[in-house]
């Protein structure tokens, strides 16, 4: 049995294999390096929510692990760990990335934006306030991810249509399916940011 996983994927990528095969199981299995894996020490500065933070990690360490484990910014949640649900999204230089499948070294030195940068309980971003009023989060596990993606959308487009919101957030799974509330939240947050609406 072979498992598809980030680890195996990264091992295969590290071995310089071009991943062209669709039926890739045997391919992945064949290139797994002998154990034990050598540990490589890396060290870099990450500009997270405007603050430079230094982390030590291995070459294979993901950005999620650096943010949420090494640096203790636990707001960014990791769910599938297979780059398919979007819960772990963060912005790198303004663009949303799945941090579970982004290597930390790819983001070294770059500007990273996480849920902690959006707003805290004393200083909520309109997205968080409107989301709260509209029930855009049931369990809340996906919220940190789609919130930063929505922020990226609003940074570029202050008047998105419902369809534009859907297409921007199509890479985020909300298992509680608060989707209709999420769409209304982003559309109406844009109205607040444009100054056309106010939060009661």
């Amino acid at each position: 049995m072979m498992r598809y996983s980030r680890r195996n994927f990264l091992k295969a990528a590290g071995a310089g294999i071009t991943l062209t095969a669709i039926e890739g199981e045997s391919l992945f299995a064949a290139v797994a390096p002998p154990l034990p894996t050598p540990i490589t020490k890396e060290r870099a500065t990450f500009i997270i929510n405007g603050k430079p933070l230094v982390a030590e990690y291995e070459a294979r360490t993901t950005l999620w692990e650096v943010i949420a484990v090494k640096l203790g910014l636990t707001g960014t949640t990791r769910s599938c760990n297979r780059a398919s649900c979007g819960a772990c999204s963060v912005l790198i230089d303004g663009t949303p990335f799945y941090s579970c499948h982004t290597l930390a070294m790819e983001a070294a030195g770059k500007k990273i934006f996480t849920i902690e940068g959006l707003g805290d309980e004393k200083n909520l971003h309109p997205l968080q306030k409107v989301g709260y009023l509209y029930m855009a989060a049931d369990c809340g596990f996906c919220t940190a991810g789609w919130s930063v993606t929505a922020k990226a959308l609003l940074d570029k487009n202050l008047n998105p249509s419902a369809d534009e919101v859907k297409s921007a957030l199509a890479g985020h799974i909300c298992r509680c399916a608060a989707y209709s509330a999420i769409v209304r939240t982003v559309v109406d947050t844009a109205a607040v940011l444009r100054g056309e609406a106010e939060i009661i």
Partner: protein, 835 residues
């Protein structure tokens, strides 16, 4: 034009409110009377037993200030979800924490002949390896690995990657045993015997037969007899939060942060597993990233081992299962076959139904599998019934609650059967259901409920009588909301390539499985009988004038704390929730209670708190009366001030009352109990789901366009939360129709082979239909404010409704789950061939 000269258009106001839900209020005084009837006062006399129950529990649902008003959940519970601070177990972190990873069995059935962890133990960063060899005797590893994903070893290391490296370095010599994982495998002639000596057939537990009435005679009398077979392939809830836990020791006390639907049950498991006093276990679980009934097992069976490793290493340990491992341990909706033989009269009345079912029960055989709670029998009048059950133990995942228990997986078949019978007798599916549905006041007999009805006070007469049962209303209101008159009279009759169609299905779940609160005769009797689940609660008034609610239940996005707080606010005379605080999800802070399930939380845990609040209200009135020298009957409460109705200057605040209590909080305690099975004639609601779909007859592609789900809700405490919950339920449940657990390619029928969420597609933001939730406020007279639980009741129907709508759109009936475009296309081709 400068900014100041521009004419100001008023800003649009953003506030909490219903989006598209409709509330249909029913008259408060019902025009029917059952079981002794409603007396004009505030008491309700039930049945021959004359069990006296306070009508509305003393709080009639009129002139309410808080209950029924849409408002966002309590900030202390909900805001952390938006700021990334809700404390899911996965967010708990300590500086010197170890990360644990699981070695799971790759075989559907095997034994470990030899396990060699020597090499793994020498790997960098490895702190501890737990296997059958060194597991605690009080909590051993399984001897036989009974399903793919069974636990073989746990490694704790400095990072997740290092732990996984070591997991891969463990050498295991498996003795691979013959297995049967799917229904077709276990039902085949050469299946291995998995029955552990209990079955009469290979791999089988004994077939069960449940029967009432005279089935043979009824079939002779029937005008129309039809037979149908339906197959359901299996489903899983897949919450986003990965299952796992964190354990940390402080001397001889351990704290465990977990993921599930209770505090005290997992605490007991940990104490038992480690052989320690439960007092030395603190269990914390405040927020969950979804649980949907299926998570509990996948988390709780690991708690004792995680705590044990933490003890052995002297460091905090966090275990996070990967998604494929987690799904192997989570409860799933079972694969099943249902065979119906149904007899009806020409006028459409069902006179007899025989159901034979075959259920893939997974590892844990016999546990709540096939009979589906027989909830269909509470919803439909079936005068003669025979059920032949085959529950198979297999090398597959444990079955159980999985975004409701035994609903979608059986109603996918049942609700299609109802449609096919309607067609056979030449009736509209709604009219056919209205003819055959249970009506208010109908007595449901012990015989027809079978073993799911427990002998509790209200059914000592052998039947339950439902007062509040809006079966007719949910159908009628649902028809209006969807526009049922636009339905095709001939299936597939619309011209053109893209055809639209309408479908309906009903849902109801564990009818009346609710309990009693302290002060009711039923409570004393059930508790005295023993074996009842008792939900305890505490309510406090502190010197700041705040009301603190203490209760155990973790929040999975359910926001039950807010619903409960609203009822408490109403009882204590508040017009808002500003003074209500919650202490929940922590065994050090909250009194004992079983876990929550089945949409009962607001009723049972909430009922306990309402009863405590009722005591507190009386306590405060007594204190105020003494202090103000005013008769209790002349006092009124409004927003933390108790004053004389005759002279409002004679007043005292809650805070002052608390301060005058010698600096101590004023506390009250109360309980509710769960009778353990169906037992009280309190309906938990009925759902009627109406859907509209569109089928492209050239490709087989179909689209879910619109849904109107009409629910018998009782008085809805917070319609905003109810609408959000029901919208999510509808989307989740519709996915059950179209997705089956994707099995491992190497061992078909075994573990969910998970490539993220790509092989088991979860609905995305692009898949959401236009939704209208309709709440029929049917007022349950036996409970506070006329409320009833409806969360789980209102989820079972969509898969059947969608199948029925696809049939109405294009004339293709999908009896074999899941619904796919390939099956629609094949059906269209077969139909064209016949034509």
């Amino acid at each position: 034009m400068s900014q100041t000269q521009r004419p100001r258009t008023p800003k649009r106001k953003i506030e909490a409110g219903l989006h598209s839900a409709i509330i249909v209020n029913q008259p408060m005084v019902r025009n029917f009377s059952t079981g002794g009837g409603h007396s004009p006062g505030d008491t309700l006399v039930e049945g021959d037993e004359k069990i006296v129950t306070k009508k509305w529990q003393g709080y009639p649902p009129e002139n309410l200030n808080v209950v029924g008003k849409p408002q966002p959940p309590l900030a202390e519970v909900a805001i952390p979800r938006y700021t990334g601070k809700a404390e899911y177990a996965t967010r708990i972190s300590f500086p010197n924490m170890l990360f644990a990873k699981l070695l799971a069995s790759p075989h559907p059935r095997a034994r470990v002949r030899k396990l060699d962890a020597t090499k793994a133990a020498q790997m960098p960063g490895v702190a501890y390896i737990l296997s059958a060899q060194n597991a605690p005797k009080t909590y051993p590893f399984p001897e036989e690995l009974f399903f793919q994903g069974s636990i073989v070893a746990i490694v704790a290391a400095e990072t997740e990657d290092l732990a996984e490296d070591a997991v891969e370095a463990i050498d295991v010599d498996y003795e691979v045993l013959p297995f049967a994982s799917s229904l077709s495998q276990i039902m085949s002639g050469n299946a291995p015997d998995l029955s552990q000596g209990r079955g009469q057939r290979r791999g089988n537990t004994a077939p069960s037969v449940v029967q009432y009435g005279d089935v043979e005679k009824a079939f002779q009398d029937a005008d129309i007899i039809k037979e149908f077979t339906y197959y359901y392939a299996g489903g899983v809830v897949a919450p986003l939060q990965p299952c796992g836990s964190v354990a940390k020791w402080d001397g001889d006390k351990v704290t465990v942060w977990g993921h599930g639907q209770g505090i005290y049950p997992p605490r007991a498991i940990i104490a038992r597993g480690l052989g320690i006093d439960p007092k030395n276990v603190r269990f914390i679980n405040k927020w969950n990233g979804g649980t949907f009934g299926g998570v509990r097992q996948a988390s709780e069976k690991f708690y004792p081992w995680v705590a044990y490793i933490a003890k052995m290493t002297g460091r905090p340990v966090k275990l996070t299962l990967t998604k494929d491992q987690e799904l192997a341990h989570m409860q799933v909706k079972p694969e099943n076959i249902q065979k119906f033989k149904v007899g009806a009269k020409k006028d459409g009345r069902i006179v007899v139904c025989q159901r034979e079912y075959f259920v893939n029960n997974g590892e844990r055989s016999g546990g709540g599998g096939g009979n589906g709670g027989r909830s269909e029998l509470y919803l439909h009048v079936v005068p003669n019934w025979k059920e032949i059950g085959h529950d198979y133990r297999t090398n597959s995942m444990t079955i159980g609650a999985s975004r409701s228990n035994m609903q979608q997986e059986f109603k996918f078949g049942w609700e299609q059967m109802m449609d096919e019978m309607a067609e056979a007798v030449g009736m509209d599916p709604v009219q056919f259901r209205l003819l055959n549905v249970q009506k208010p006041g109908t007595k449901v007999s012990l015989a027809s409920g079978g073993p799911t009805m427990a002998p509790v006070p209200e059914i000592e007469n052998g039947f339950l009588t439902y007062d509040s049962f809006a079966s007719v209303e949910v159908m009628e209101e649902g028809m209006k909301a969807i526009g049922w008159d636009k339905r095709n009279s001939v299936p597939g009759g619309n011209p053109g390539r893209v055809k639209r169609g309408f479908g309906v299905a009903m849902s109801q779940h564990h009818a009346g499985r609710v309990g009693y609160h302290e002060g009711e005769v039923g409570f004393e009797r059930v508790v005295k009988r023993g074996g009842a689940d008792v939900y305890e609660s505490e309510i406090e008034l502190n010197a700041e004038g705040n009301i603190i609610l203490r209760f155990a239940q973790p929040d999975s996005g359910t926001n039950h704390g807010t619903g409960i707080a609203m009822a408490i606010a109403e009882i204590l005379g508040f017009t808002n929730l500003r003074h209500i605080r919650l202490l929940w999800g922590d065994s050090d802070l909250a009194p004992p209670a079983p876990g929550w399930n089945s949409g009962l939380t607001t009723q049972l845990q909430g009922g306990a708190l309402c009863t405590a609040a009722d005591k507190l209200r009386k306590d405060l009135l007594n204190r105020a009366s003494e202090l103000l020298k005013v008769d209790i009957g002349r006092l009124q409460i409004r927003d933390a001030v108790i004053s004389s109705k005759d002279d409002t200057k004679k007043a005292v605040t809650f805070a002052a009352l608390a301060r005058s209590n010698e600096g101590r909080v004023i506390r009250q305690h109360a309980s509710c109990c769960h009778p353990g099975a169906i037992g009280r004639a309190m309906n938990r609601g009925i759902g009627a789901c109406f859907v509209e779909v569109e089928v492209d007859t050239w490709t087989g592609n179909w689209r879910f366009i619109r849904a109107a789900y009409c629910h018998d809700t009782g008085n809805v405490i917070n319609p905003l939360l109810a609408e959000a919950d029901m919208n999510g339920s509808l989307v989740q449940s519709s996915q059950v129709a179209t997705e089956a657990i994707p099995w491992d390619r190497e061992f078909p029928g075994t573990r969910h082979f998970s490539v993220g969420y790509l092989s088991y597609r979860l609905p995305t933001i692009m898949d959401v239909p236009e939704q209208t939730q309709v709440f029929v406020n049917s007022l349950e007279p036996r409970w506070y404010f006329g409320t009833k639980g409806f969360a789980e009741t209102a989820i079972g129907a969509p898969p059947g409704a969608i199948a029925n709508a696809i049939y109405n759109a294009c004339g293709v009936r999908i009896r074999e789950h899941p619904i796919t475009k390939e099956k629609i296309m094949a059906g269209l081709k077969a139909k064209a061939g016949r034509a």
